[in-house]
Structures are given as C-alpha cells and as structure tokens.
C-alpha cells in the first residue's frame, strides 16, 4: 500500500474556521460538550523574562471522544492538561466540564501521570481502592470494584503485591485501573507511557484502546509522540511552542484497535510529521530534548532505508 492511499482518511481541519464556529454555539444536539476550553492563556516569569506558555486556547471535546494533544517538549501541553485537571490556574479564560465551570481538582477528571504516582505505603489493591475510600464506599464494595478494574488491566493476580515489586508498565496499568475505578467522566493522561520501553508501550496502546472500546470514557491524552497519538486518538490537536497555540487538528478515522506498526498508522504519522517539520525545527533551534529527539523520529519514518542485497536471489 502506498503512503498516499493509506492517508485518505486523515482529515485536516481548518482550525481558524472551526474556531469561529465554536464561539457561536456551545451545545451540540442540545447536549453540552464534555469539555470546553475557552480562551485559556497562561504565562510565567523566568530568568529570561515572561514566557507565554499558552495563548488563547479554544477546544471542545465531545462525550466519548479520544483526543490527543501533541506538541514538542515545553509547548505547554502538560500545563493545558493541568489546567483542565484543576491542578493549575489559567491566567485568563475558562474551562467547563459538562455544565459546570472548573474551579480546582475534581473526581470527574482523574489524571494519570507520566510516573504512575502509586502510593508506596499501600499495596496494589489498596492503591486502586484509594479514591473509592475517599468517596465513601465501604470496605467490601470498594474491594470488589478494585478487583474488577485490576482484572481489566490483567493484574488481579498482583492485588496483594507491593508497589516496588511491579515493573514500570505494570505500575502504569495499576494507575489506569485506579483512575477507572473512580468512574470519572473524563480521563486525563499526561504522557503516561513515555518512560516505558517500546514493547511495553505497544502492549499498553493495545490495552488502552480495548479499555476505551469497553468503557467509552472521554480521554484527553498528552504526548510528544505523533505515532502514539495516531495509534490512539480520534482527533489529534497539534500545539505549537512559545507561545503554545493550537496549530492544527487532524481527525483519524481508522478501525480499532490499531497497531503502532500498522501501515496506515505509520503513513498518518509521516504526513502529520511532515506538516509539522517547520514547527519542530523552530523548537530545535532553541532546545534539544535528548529524550524526544524529534529529528531522529522524523528520519525513522520519512526516509526509506537503502536496500542491500543480502543474497537468496528473490
């Protein structure tokens, strides 16, 4: 299959036009969008003066949508997620979840962080029970719910294990179970798989898609990895850097569960990356992030490796 044939379903949204439409109406078919980010801006003072992390971000996410925010390191995507989570305050603008304005953290929006953030003083099942205990479920109820979600991430056998006994991927699966057990309206995922090895990440991409197909939770997922975004998202939002602005949106219409190494996924990623190259180059001039060497990433997917005759005569 050629690259262009594989990317037919990639829909490039004219962002400015969409933005204008959004300002007019908020309700779709009489239902509030799950999340509305309106004119959110945020800046902070650094040694070199004021840095505009986010500038006039407008965004709507519908019930059950899986949205990825992609951008280079330092583009403010984590800040945006933290503002949606209520862990940070925007300088201006508003964030609405359903019909209420967000003012601080809430159990309707549970965050899964880059490090699993499991509590080392609790064992695995008690970690999953943590939020349920705060919600006031009694011991037996919360144990049952916790086990149910541990089963969903295939870790019920490890319910009595201590956190330090788990691998990185297992910890992140427990964190997912812990978040889902809260039955939140929305999952906010902040580069949850970026510190895992490629194979574990591949498995977790598959598991997360299956969980999403089962639960149909609204998911806002932040990543710097375009391939990951194409693999997971219904819609990809590209953020530019300093100031952090929404640059482009893409709809990904591929059947699920998708595979990281699927031809179509690779094709989509390549196209998105090509369009972003200018933007990325801008970032690379000011800062190279060794963890996310975007240039290498691009080369891996854009350049066809030279063919070498290894014999065999086929």
């Amino acid at each position: 299959m050629t690259e262009s044939a594989g990317t037919e379903n990639l829909i490039d949204i004219d962002h400015v036009k969409v933005d204008n439409e959004r300002q007019k109406s908020h309700k779709v078919n009489g239902v509030w969008p799950k999340l509305r980010v309106q004119h959110v801006s945020k800046s902070f003072q650094s040694k070199n003066g004021r840095v505009d992390v986010l500038e006039d971000i407008n965004l709507e996410i519908q019930q059950g949508e899986f949205v990825c925010i992609v951008g280079p390191s330092g583009c403010g995507k984590t800040t945006l997620l933290n503002i949606v989570a209520g862990l940070e305050k925007a300088d201006s603008g508003e964030v609405w979840a359903d019909d209420h304005k967000i003012n601080g953290a809430g159990t309707d929006r549970v965050v899964i962080f880059q490090e699993a953030a499991l509590f080392p003083w609790l064992n695995v099942v008690k970690n999953v029970e943590f939020g349920l205990k705060l919600k006031g479920f009694n011991g037996k109820e919360r144990r049952n719910i916790a086990i149910e979600y541990l089963k969903m991430v295939h870790l019920s056998k490890f319910q009595h294990a201590q956190v330090h006994e788990l691998s990185g991927g297992m910890k992140q699966r427990v964190a997912i179970a812990r978040a889902l057990a809260m039955n939140p309206e929305m999952l906010l995922m902040d580069e949850p798989f970026s510190s895992l090895d490629a194979q574990t990440r591949w498995i977790l991409h598959y598991e997360l898609q299956n969980i999403w197909l089962k639960t149909r939770k609204t998911i806002l997922f932040v990543t710097h990895n375009i391939r990951e975004a194409v693999c997971l998202a219904d819609r990809i939002i590209i953020l530019s850097t300093s100031p952090g602005k929404i640059k482009k949106e893409f709809l990904v219409e591929l059947p699920r569960p998708r595979d990281d190494n699927d031809v179509n996924v690779a094709g989509y990623s390549t196209r998105i990356m090509k369009e972003l190259k200018a933007e990325i180059n801008k970032v690379m001039k000011c800062e190279m992030d060794a963890d996310s060497c975007v240039e290498c990433d691009i080369k891996c997917t854009t350049e066809v490796p030279a063919k070498t005759d290894i014999g065999g005569g086929i």
Binding site: A105, T107, V110, V111, A117, F130, L134, Q162, H164
Partner: protein, 252 residues
C-alpha cells in the same frame, strides 16, 4: 548463630573482667561492687517489688509525656511543613530551641508545675517534642508533589489529604524522629527523676547513692538499659523493618 555465640562470649568476658577487677581489691565495695552483689540486688529489687513499682511509675510518666509529644510534635511538624508563615517563624525558633539541653527547662518546670509528676512529664515532653516536630517537617517537605496532585485528582482534600497521603508519605521520617525523641525523652525522664524526688527509677538510683549502695545504682542502670533495648527491639526496629519492606528500600 555465630554472632550470638560471639556476643555471649563477650558478655562472659566482660563480667569476668569486672569480677577480676573487684577481687583485686583496689577499690572498696561501695565504689565498685561485684557483679554477684549487683545481680543479688537486682533479684531482691524485683522480689520486694520496689523495682517493679519504680518501672511502673517511670513508664507511666514517659507514656504520658511521650504520648503528648507525639501528637503535638506531628501537628507542629505538619504546620511548619505546609504553612509558609509557620515555617518562617516557628521553624527557625524550634531549630534553635533544640540545641538547648532539656534539663535547662527544669527551673521553669519547677516554677510552673512544682516538685511533682507534672514537672517530670513536662521535661519528658520537651525532650521528645522538638525531634518529632523537626522530623515531621522534613518528612512533609520530602513528600513528592506528584502524590499530592494524584490524591487531589482522586478527591482528597482538607484533613483527609493529610490523613491519607501526607502523613503516610512522611511516615519514614516521622518514625525516625519518634525514635530519636524516645531516647531524648528517656534521658530527660532520668534527669528529672534524679533531681525531683518522687519515686521512679531515677529516684531508686538516688536512694542507692544516699545509702552508698552502688550495687543498687548499677542494678537500676541495668534495668534502664534493658527497657531501652526492649522498646527499641519490640517497637522501633519492627516498625522500621515493615516500612522498609513495604517501600522496597531493602530486599527482603
């Protein structure tokens, strides 16, 4: 097994040397009693219940003083660790206060509470509270903000955030502070009991001194050492071991 054998050998040698030194007769018995007479005094003291009463009274004082210091120490530590204004004011004040030997509080304690139990309990409290406060403060400050953010998104706030996240996360530090506080409390108790005459183990030592009965002094010293070791082994060592296992700080 090897180490137990070595330890037993050491104590046998130690007591043997002591007995040898006694038999040389350089010092009179009221200066250096023999291990045998110390052992007899020990048995006698337990048989006529004076040691048991002394232990009971001392333990009651330390339980009250140390108990209050744990509660107050943890609360003060949380305040200093989490609230900027307390950190800037009380924080440096307590660090300064900790350099003051506890026994320096005795004159004030006598004035405030009189020659009684409450003065001693106050000394015990002052001995332990600052160690626990400072350790709790350090523990609270070392809690990764990630835990607090994660807990907040799961609905932890107010006192539940403290109870379910901050205190458990700071527990390794708090236990270290409690252990240090215990040894300071125990010292303050003895100092207080030696100076304020109202029963207790310290008082039993003073009686020994007044009667020129060094075997009683040494017997009480042995009792104090044994209680110290027992509390350390039965409580602190076990708790620390459990925390290390749970947090994965050692291979089990």
């Amino acid at each position: 097994m090897q180490s137990i054998l070595k330890r037993t050998m050491f104590y046998i040698l130690f007591v043997g040397l002591w007995e040898g030194l006694f038999r040389l007769g350089i010092w009179p018995e009221y200066v250096l009693p023999s291990p045998v007479s110390v052992f007899k005094t020990l048995i006698h003291g337990f048989q006529n219940h004076t040691f048991l009463i002394g232990i009971a009274i001392s333990m009651k004082r330390i339980a009250i003083g140390y108990g209050i210091s744990i509660v107050v120490g943890i609360l003060l530590g949380l305040l200093i660790g989490r609230v900027r204004i307390f950190e800037e004011t009380l924080g440096s004040f307590f660090t300064g206060l900790q350099t003051l030997p506890t026994i320096c509080w005795l004159p004030l304690a006598l004035l405030w509470f009189g020659l009684n139990d409450r003065s001693i309990i106050f000394l015990v409290f002052m001995g332990a509270v600052l160690s626990i406060t400072i350790a709790t403060d350090a523990g609270v400050k070392s809690v990764p903000s990630l835990y607090i953010r994660a807990a907040k998104t799961m609905g932890a706030k107010g006192w539940k955030l403290y109870l379910e996240v901050i205190i458990p996360a700071a527990l390794p530090h708090i236990i270290t502070g409690m252990k240090q506080g215990w040894s300071f409390a125990w010292r303050s108790l003895m100092a207080g009991e030696l100076l304020i005459v109202c029963l207790g183990l310290g008082h039993l030592m003073m009686i020994g001194r007044e009667l020129n009965d060094m075997s009683q002094v040494i017997a009480v010293m042995i009792v104090i050492i044994i209680i110290g070791i027992l509390v350390d082994r039965l409580f602190f060592v076990k708790v620390e071991q459990r925390i290390r296992e749970r947090w994965g700080l050692v291979k089990v």
